[in-house]
């Protein structure tokens, strides 16, 4: 006997909520509408059994005995789990950090505090005339972004769709898959993004354009009432993390129409963590990596992250010297070296919770199947209680 449920996918920060899951005998048999990555998540949810009580006790011991612990990761877990993690950091008086500052500098803080104008992806689908992918390869990181929101779909005020009603441009170092499907591709040399911003605003204010492509792009900007920059880590690098330049550019564009920015964050709930920290009145200082490098951390509680794969070796090798507790559904290089691994489930697949899409819209993830694997929230709650 098979049943079908509609699920929300935690594969990326798009949080697609139209996933049709077919379940037979408590197993997921078929996944409809999810991209290659989302389908892989739903079809491969399987975890070995282990002694959870012993693991939790050991985690509490490690954290109690540590002189300078830290909590790291958190972009791929639920809001509920993030809240508990923040409470643990308050209890221990220790550092808590995600990747938002590492990958995007100050951008997330600026967006969340409305210093840079932002909008929702639904606004984009219904109103955006021009989509600018700057240093972001959406087709490779958030595959359904262009088909659900930013280029191909019809929208309330975009009834004629992408062929007549929308313009999309990719600005990047190389011709990525996103560049291939956008109307235009503008190749930018490494570090030349500020100069390009100068040139664009210059052309808009009447200076002669340096190329046909730039003239065309400027005309599209002038025509547009509603435009969005989808900012990836490539843009942050290209600007050498100078957010003042980006703020200046956004203000400049806004003289020609309504221009917004949405950060194309890596991690299905990075936006959630940044907002949680903002509400708890904490700043993400970007100091975990420096502390790790300087030997200032002796125990790390890593939640839903794989720093052995994400960080340069000069940093990741420091994890081998300290006590590490890893709470994660997968087997990764980080679980390989960890002192303690607690395998948890995946929100939206075999457990639940809420998460924020890249544009701040909150979604509820409900489990499709039942498993014994605990949620990150449940594990962290038990650790907090034991401290």
């Amino acid at each position: 006997m098979s049943t079908q449920v509609t699920a929300t996918c935690p594969g990326c920060s798009c949080l697609c909520d139209d996933i049709e899951v077919v379940i037979e005998e408590s197993e997921i048999r078929e996944v409809g509408n999810a991209c290659r990555k989302g389908a892989s998540l739903f079809l491969n949810a399987d975890h070995p059994a282990y002694d959870l009580d012993a693991a939790i006790d050991e985690a509490i011991e490690i954290l109690k005995n540590a002189k300078s612990p830290a909590i790291f990761g958190l972009d791929n877990t639920t809001i509920e789990a993030q809240r508990i993690a923040i409470k643990i950091s308050e209890k221990l008086g220790c550092m808590i950090e995600d990747y938002s500052s590492i990958r995007y500098g100050d951008l997330l803080n600026l967006v969340v505090s409305s210093r840079i104008k932002t909008c929702t992806l639904d606004d984009v689908r219904d109103r955006a005339d021009i989509s600018i992918f700057w240093g972001s390869d959406a087709m490779s990181s958030q595959p359904r972004h262009l088909s659900r929101f930013s280029y191909f779909p019809r929208g309330e005020h975009k009834q004629k769709g992408w062929e007549f009603d929308r313009y999309a441009i990719s600005i990047d170092i190389y011709r990525s898959p996103t560049a291939k499907v956008c109307r235009e591709f503008l190749k930018v040399s490494p570090g030349q993004d500020p100069a390009l911003m100068d040139e664009i605003l210059g052309i808009l204010s009447g200076k002669p354009p340096g190329s046909k492509e730039l003239l065309k792009f400027s005309n599209e900007i002038k025509k547009a009432d509603f435009g969005v920059i989808f900012a990836g880590s490539g843009l942050i690098h290209g600007l050498n993390r100078d957010m003042d330049k980006l703020i200046w550019f956004m203000e400049g564009l806004n003289e020609y129409g309504e221009f917004y920015l949405i950060p194309m964050v890596k991690g299905y709930n990075m936006r959630g963590f940044v907002e949680m920290m903002e509400r708890a009145q904490k700043r993400i200082e970007g100091s975990f990596l420096r502390a790790l490098l300087d030997g200032g951390i002796d125990a790390a509680l890593i939640v839903g992250a794989d720093p052995m794969s994400d960080l340069p070796y000069s940093l990741s090798k420091k994890l081998l010297d300290i006590q590490t507790i890893v709470i994660d559904p997968r087997d990764t290089p980080t679980t390989e070296i960890a002192d303690l691994v607690i395998h948890t489930g995946i929100a939206g697949v075999d457990n639940g919770g809420s998460a924020m899409r890249m544009d701040g819209v909150e979604f509820e993830l409900v489990p499709c199947i039942e498993r014994d694997t605990p949620s990150d929230e449940a594990v962290l709650t038990r650790i907090l209680e034991g401290l």
């Binding site: 490779s140 170092i173 011709r175 420096r290 794969s309 960080l311």
Partner: protein
């Protein structure tokens, strides 16, 4: 004698490694990041076709990438795009072996300076990269 053995080694060339997203590797990573399948999609560098001709590297040949941070052996594959002097790698423990941490900015780099040469044996295993040197 030492001088002659250096000459026998394959020639080295400068290369910039650009770290790019790869949906196929991402999809595989949902199944775990220790498997052979994940290794096959991560221990790889996509090279410009003209560069491959100039460097005598054939599609599917093992190549060594190295710099002051470390050395890895990965599979060289021909890229469908043109990007002379640049090799594309997905984010993984492999590409991160070559990366430096910028202490001033606190950032992980997206572009890494390295050198490339043919050969040097088998592709580096993931578990080997998890060990302390």
């Amino acid at each position: 004698m030492a001088g002659i053995s250096r000459l026998i080694q394959a020639p080295e060339y400068e290369i910039k490694i650009l770290i790019i997203s790869d949906i196929f590797q991402s999809a595989e990573s949902c199944r775990g990041r220790i498997s052979r399948e994940y290794q096959d999609l991560s221990a790889v560098v996509y090279l410009d076709k003209e560069d491959m001709k100039a460097w005598s590297i054939k599609d599917g040949m093992n190549v060594t990438l190295f710099n002051e941070n470390g050395k890895i052996v990965v599979t060289g594959r021909s890229s469908k795009e043109e990007h002379r002097g640049i090799g594309l790698m997905p984010p993984s423990i492999y590409s991160m072996r070559l990366a430096s941490f910028d202490e001033t900015s606190g950032a992980i780099p997206l572009m890494i300076e390295a050198r490339i040469r043919r050969g040097d044996g088998e592709v580096t295993g993931i578990r080997e990269l998890c060990k302390k040197i």
